[in-house]
């Protein structure tokens, strides 16, 4: 079985994101970019399935400008067998991403598509669901456990009420939650090996799809500063303060 893993380039989780001066976006110049952490978990899970003999090939795909090759190289160094770079100079929305991924799925015919439940930049949480709908295949979102057995996958999902376990027929789309696994570190020898792994590039319009973004961002602003907390010296002061605010 082949597994397709989607890797999105995002601003590193540790970076303090700054709004640019004209409020049209966030500062990305000189800012560390990384694989979306949920997607990194998706790749780790795919690699573990391959290592357990449940999959034979792991293909990483990313849509974006030339710089996303860095994240694809990281994916190859982690252990993906090959990578696909869909070149798009402009940012695209989840539906466009799902359409592109559908084309790739039709061509690659994977048994499983794994991606993060959402990307930490726009927090859309849509691409996996949209791909499953367009592909007309089952979806198992927010996975915290994934067991593949023959032509089915048993997936434990993190839902509001707790954990839900479902079984889906393969091929299917699985989106990952944080607790699924802890991604491995990249070994230095594997970075060297990754340079020799295939990384194919094709422009987004070669799939007959226009790089579109249906949503238009009107304004960006820093979140309002949180009010500083007040330290109280005793329980009675705390009770008094809560009474004053009408909490008690």
């Amino acid at each position: 079985m082949k597994i397709l893993v989607c890797l999105k380039q995002v601003i590193d989780y540790q970076v303090r994101v700054q709004v640019n001066p004209d409020a049209t976006g966030v500062v990305t110049d000189g800012v560390k970019m990384s694989i979306n952490p949920f997607d990194e978990i998706a790749l780790e899970e795919a690699l573990r399935l391959r290592e357990a003999g449940k999959a034979t090939e792991v293909v990483a795909v990313s849509i974006g400008n030339a710089s996303v090759k860095t994240q694809l190289r990281t994916g190859l160094a982690m252990g993906a067998d090959r990578a696909l770079h869909i070149l798009s100079e402009t940012a695209i929305d989840p539906l466009t991403a799902a359409r592109v991924l559908l084309k790739i799925v039709e061509h690659e015919a994977p048994g499983l598509v794994i991606m993060g439940k959402q990307a930490i930049d726009d927090d859309c949480n849509q691409t996996g669901q949209m791909l499953a709908a367009l592909w007309d295949r089952p979806q198992a979102t927010f996975a915290s456990e994934l067991l593949v057995d023959g032509q089915t996958a048993r997936v434990t999902r993190e839902v509001d009420a707790g954990l839900e376990t479902i079984e889906v027929d393969l091929p299917a789309v699985v989106t990952t939650d944080l607790r699924l696994n802890t991604p491995r570190f990249v070994k230095l020898p594997d970075i060297m090996k990754a340079k020799r792994k295939p990384l194919d590039e094709s422009p987004i319009d070669s799939y007959g799809i226009e790089a579109a973004n249906a949503a238009q961002a009107l304004n960006y602003a820093q979140p309002p500063e949180r009010k500083k907390g007040v330290m109280v010296d005793s329980i009675s002061e705390l009770v008094e303060a809560m009474k004053q605010r009408g909490v008690l």
Binding site: K32, F185, V186
Partner: protein
């Protein structure tokens, strides 16, 4: 309650004076858990004038003052165990001034290190003094102990970033030292006497710290080495080929304690006796290629066995935890902590002798090695065996000290590289400094604090 104590509380009510058992216990100790705290009371001055008032009161009544910051010290420098009045700088936590041109920041002594770091970052600048406890340590304490940490290799010590300070001497005089000048060739620079004086010359109330531009993007490698010689050989190679901001090491036993915490994964499957953590400038592929070259050359030379490199800042932070969580993970085992240093060039030989010494005399103890090896600083932690009483272990560590410090002396090293002397190390001062030096230190202390009210019993050994 003593009559004196009775009068302190109302006298310093405006400074939040208190003497309840919890406060005395909390503010009477630092991170060294060496002596039982027993302070008279705790006060929280709000400005330099308050501190002057406290000093004058202490002189009049013959009370000793113990300055207290984030209480993260490891040598007992902030411990109050003899009915001292603890002067906590907690309430002096304001940023007073920011000078973008210098660039520099002036803060009250109780401002937390991480607050300075965050403030600098928000201005697009960088305050480089950093260590595991920067989230609770305070600027005044950093200066009083000349704190070092993980970036010393590149950015130096706290001393290198202090542009000026306000300090109250033991006579209640307010000194404004150096006025944040970069150049000031007007006689003895008293600022540098205050830095590292552990609260024995004056109480630091305000500090001006220099800031700098942030470094370029960093990456972290953790490489496995077969022995300490190779850790040092790798250092020479890495220092040559890369722009380093940190070169740390830890032993596999140290790593195991971190992994036992259950929050970290090992860097790679194969375990090696030692690990080097290297942080370096890595902005593009060519930087990463140079790191790869260092790795493959050191692999060929037998210096390393395996290694990983961070692919994101999050991974870099995760790799750092392998080094930074060691202290915390072993603290419940009551380690006997040594913070020693020798010149880097002499380290390989020194380490060999130290290892042999510990093997020969103390095979019964688990020894945890880690430290800022790139600047010659070694944190040697010897763990108390579970079935040993604290008393028996303490007695044995006295003999370990004699052995280890003897070797440090032979190599002209330091018995306290960055933790200060406090109560724990003061009696060993003569292993690092000459009698003539110690005598001068005593005289200087008398000049600043003739009544001996400032942190008495700390830093200097009792006169014979």
């Amino acid at each position: 309650m003593s009559p004196l104590n009775d009068s302190i509380l109302p006298r310093f009510e405006s400074m939040g004076a208190r003497n309840d058992a919890d406060s005395l216990d909390k503010y009477g100790r630092d991170h060294s858990s060496f002596s039982m705290p027993d302070p008279l009371a705790v006060v929280f001055p709000r400005n330099t004038e308050d501190v002057v008032e406290l000093v004058q009161y202490a002189r009049e009544h013959g009370i000793a003052l113990v300055p207290s910051g984030g209480r993260t010290g490891l040598s007992g420098g902030a411990v109050a165990s003899h009915q001292e009045l603890v002067v906590s700088f907690e309430k002096m936590n304001k940023i007073i001034d920011f000078d973008p041109l210098a660039p520099a920041i002036t803060v009250e002594a109780g401002v937390i290190t991480a607050t300075v770091q965050d403030y600098a970052r928000d201005q697009g600048l960088f305050f480089p003094v950093d260590y595991a406890s920067s989230g609770s340590s305070q600027v005044g304490g950093n200066v009083a102990t000349n704190a070092g940490g993980i970036k010393v290799l590149r950015y130096g010590l706290t001393r290198d970033w202090v542009l000026g300070m306000t300090v109250v001497t033991g006579q209640g005089e307010v000194l404004k030292l150096n006025n944040a000048l970069v150049k000031n060739a007007t006689g003895l620079d008293l600022r540098h006497l205050m830095i590292g004086s552990e609260g024995t010359l004056g109480l630091i109330t305000e500090v001006t710290l220099g800031l700098t531009s942030p470094p370029p993007q960093q990456a972290v490698m953790v490489l496995g080495c077969p022995d300490m010689d190779q850790v040092m050989a790798l250092f020479a190679r890495a220092r040559n080929q890369l722009t380093l901001s940190a070169y740390e090491f830890f032993s596999d036993k140290a790593l195991q304690h971190v992994l036992d915490g259950g929050q970290s994964q090992p860097p790679f499957d194969e375990r090696t006796p030692y690990y080097a953590l290297i942080e370096f400038d890595c902005t593009d592929d060519s930087d990463q290629d140079r790191a790869l070259a260092v790795f493959s050359n050191s692999l060929e030379a037998g210096e390393v066995v395996d290694g990983v490199i961070s692919q994101s800042d999050s991974q870099a932070a995760e790799l750092w935890t392998l080094r930074e969580h060691i202290s915390e993970r072993i603290s419940h085992l009551l380690p006997h902590k040594n913070d020693i240093a020798v010149r880097v060039a002499r380290l390989p030989e020194f380490l060999k002798k130290l290892d042999a010494l510990l093997h020969e005399h103390y095979p019964q103890f688990e020894v945890i090695w880690f430290g800022h090896i790139g600047d010659g600083n070694l944190h040697l932690n010897i763990l108390k065996p579970a079935d040993w009483s604290i008393e028996a272990f303490k007695q044995e560590t006295a003999s370990i000290n004699a052995h280890v410090y003897g070797l440090v002396k032979e190599y002209a090293g330091s018995i306290s590289a960055e933790h200060g002397l406090g109560l724990l190390k003061r009696d060993h001062l003569s292993d690092s400094r000459s009698e003539a030096e110690i005598q001068l230190m005593r005289q200087i202390r008398l000049l600043f604090d003739p009544d001996g009210i400032l942190n008495p019993g700390k830093m200097l050994p009792d006169p014979i």
